[in-house]
Amino acid sequence: GDSVTQTEGLVTLTEGLPVMLNCTYQTAYSTFLFWYVQHLNEAPKLLLKSSTDNKRTEHQGFHATLHKSSSSFHLQKSSAQLSDSALYYCALAPSSFSKLVFGQGTSLSVVP
């Protein structure tokens, strides 16, 4: 079946260091991949999405590249800020008219 794996449950980083949150997926279909961000006591919100192989997608300082050959969609940022502390979900839309499949989430904590 379709699945999304986020290997890190908790990532703690010092401010200014680069961010990389891992996301891999399994599906037999052509896909859309998404990253959602959820700050404390708020709703999850879309951060970025992509369906194009090997194309970098950027938003709010974050970027991700969908690599269909390795089934990956890792989230990156060059320099972490304290305000980036949040819960991040990777999600997959396996095909048109499919509901999203979410990973278990990665909690990012950025410390001074």
């Binding site: 449950g9 859309f32 998404f34 708020e42 709703a43 999850p44 919100k45 879309l46 999405k49 369906s51 979900y89 839309a93 396996p94 095909s95 048109s96 008219f97 499919s98 509901k99 999203l100 979410f102 990973g103 278990q104 989430g105």
Partner: protein, 113 residues
């Protein structure tokens, strides 16, 4: 502005009691979803709907019912609440297309005592 609104924001319920969580969307989206969020489990899909009058079971439907009386409204019903249903519940709406992202409500924090 298009939005998803949940009510109540917080709820304390007694074990065995009936609880209804409400969700209203102004996005004119066909699809609506109910999730629960627990530490270590992420977002888990309880029920979803493709439109008025339709409800479908998600991944963890046991102990929950859903109702979609109109395009705008989608309710989650706990007929006999149990402490294991203590959680944060999120409603979301989305277009029918698979590339559509979801708009989430602000969540309902439910405590069953």
């Amino acid at each position: 502005e298009a939005a998803v609104t949940q009510s109540p924001r917080n709820k304390v319920a007694v074990t065995g009691g009936k609880v209804t969580l409400s969700c209203n969307q102004t996005n004119n989206h066909n699809n609506m979803y109910w999730y629960r969020q627990d530490t270590g489990h992420g977002l888990r899909l309880i029920h979803y709907s493709y439109g008025a009058g339709s409800t479908e079971k998600g991944d963890i439907p046991d102990g929950y019912k859903a109702s979609r009386p109109s395009q705008e409204n989608f309710s989650l019903i706990l007929e006999l609440a149990t402490p294991s249903q203590t959680s944060v519940y999120f409603c979301a709406s989305g277009d029918a297309e698979g590339n559509s992202d979801y708009t989430f409500g602000s969540g309902t924090r439910l405590l069953v005592i």
